[in-house]
Symmetry: C2
Subunit: 403 residues, 2 copies
Amino acid sequence: MVSDFYGLLSDNALGMKRSAIRELLKLTRDPEIISFAGGLPAPETFPVDQLKEVMDWVMTHEAQLALQYGPTEGDMLLRELIVKNYSAFGYEITPDNVLITTASQQGLDLLAKLMCNRGDKIIVGKPTYLGGLGAFNSYGPEMIGVSLDEHGMNAAELEKALADLKKNGERAKFIYVIPDFQNPTGITMPDERRRRIIELAYEYDTLIVEDSPYHELRFEGEHQTPLYALDNNGQVITLGTFSKIFCPGFRIGWVIADPQILDKFIVAKQQVDLCTAPFNQRIAARFIERGYLGTKIKEIIEIYRVKRDTMLQAFEEYMPEGVHWTRPEGGLFLFITLPEYMDSEALAKEAIKEKVAFVPGNVFFHDNSNRHTMRINFSFASKDKNLEGVKRLANVIRKAMKK
Amino acid sequence: MVSDFYGLLSDNALGMKRSAIRELLKLTRDPEIISFAGGLPAPETFPVDQLKEVMDWVMTHEAQLALQYGPTEGDMLLRELIVKNYSAFGYEITPDNVLITTASQQGLDLLAKLMCNRGDKIIVGKPTYLGGLGAFNSYGPEMIGVSLDEHGMNAAELEKALADLKKNGERAKFIYVIPDFQNPTGITMPDERRRRIIELAYEYDTLIVEDSPYHELRFEGEHQTPLYALDNNGQVITLGTFSKIFCPGFRIGWVIADPQILDKFIVAKQQVDLCTAPFNQRIAARFIERGYLGTKIKEIIEIYRVKRDTMLQAFEEYMPEGVHWTRPEGGLFLFITLPEYMDSEALAKEAIKEKVAFVPGNVFFHDNSNRHTMRINFSFASKDKNLEGVKRLANVIRKAMKK
């Protein structure tokens, strides 16, 4: 080996953190463990038979297209179908607003690469998506955390953060929000809050990144308008993905943005992987074209609603006093707040012994704070395991409280 | 839009260049144009029937694994099969040396992200792979070009470059080489040159990146030992891909490195796309397991050999005096050198009018020099089109010479 390997590494490399939940997720491969830890969709929702049919068709009729290199922007048919889907949510876009990415994690990577010099300021929720924090952190910006209240990112606190930056002659590169069934909290922003955040972006001359992997998975309540559709000034970027409504194993996501912004994403994507797998894109396109996606989403909603209900009932029944949790109207997660003296990392180790796993909440905070919180996934395990897992978890918490 | 969009962009974004051949490749979609421009494998080599069979099997027997998220390191079965393949080339490795990437372009991106601060020095061939230049450039290192001779990267010139850096108290972050059937020149490094470059890496305490997408596509002559297999000190990183021996539309590549180095690649990959499509990896693994890859490679070699031979014969027959070209023993490309007064970018425009396309050679030089060169792909078009295309190209060159 070279004499000083670390001396060869970039500042980016030296600043990268191994995902805190990786080791935890490895432990959860033990089939006896009931895992609330991952953000995994339910495997029983994967459209196996329909995929078989579509794959056979594509391989018979357009294999040479699907197996060759494709354009960096993505498969035109797929981009057109995404445009059509989003028009139902109030988006006024054309394929020129859509770039296909290698799942939405790549959207986050390209975003940070395009926007962040080391030390640049960006705004993130407290808490927010761990993969977003990882992608951003790998380029070394300074993250400014803004708390969430029951309606998502706190607007007054956001305004203060933006005003403080302005006072220092700086501006935030972007505000990162997950408006629907937020990861990790499950909280949804009502339209009013969305409008307020857009106003602040206008006033303080910055962009909003709307990461929206779950917005179609609403079990109840009113659909809220995507920030992109509320914005009239090209300042919102939407990140989307098929991972939660089709299957994660295909790794297809997209960026929707003003063409001036999107053009930068296209050039950046060219350098990182040339194009997203044309085969996977074409299968997804033909799958949507046959109407299978719409049906699939309805089916997933029914399954997840039951899993969530089971879990919420189990929480009511088994959790000791002093434990609080969110009641999400959709998505995959809910968030638990324990009494402040408790430490969920220590608890996670005890929980593994009792064969139940979750992710300590502090990893979703850019400053690693709030160790008395935890994220619970309700989509992956079966209804019965959700129930049994909550029982086990409640016992672990109760035991730790007595100490 | 924000008031100063460019003010929001990172130095990386401001320095990124749109691929010079993108617009050219778009033009070549015209079916009347014979394209020697892309680096596309021949579509008739895609294993359509075998893939149908393997996909059906995977979707019947392991769909829930293939459609779910997978580990960042990649599918263990695929990593084991890659280890087995490479043991035949003299690699002494285990799956702990192998990371699956979203094709080898991602390997190049991760490499540059891990190694390069803006202004850091790296060594590249003159010429070298355009996608490598793009990936590196997007992180802003300073590239030092070392000429190629008929045996690849010139060792004396490389030594001088490394010694000059040392004099200034600097060191190269890595030396980037494509040892087999180099893109764009088709040149292969003999073992002796490889050993010399490794000695220089030891002496000047740096890493070698061996980008090797074509090394199994040898039509004639002796197999040369991969640099990785010649190195005893963990200083060589190999990048590989299925794009040229299976199909590019699956986007699967890999990085082989010492575990200390690979660990950094794994952490970096986690931030950029979490994992490469598990479906695609599993299909590739089962495809290899059935012995289909070995047979496919033999078939591709036979097809490409004939295409190359046709092209070389056509060059002999039609090219005017003063035009020189390489005679690759494998791979996808050969490289033309015109008289120095000629400009291949201007020629490319004339060629399009005559319905033949190629890539001007200067785009493969980090300093955009050598405008009197051109890269010719012989794998994509049919034998007959290769012949007809060379005729057209010879006419375009002859006409330009008369002027």
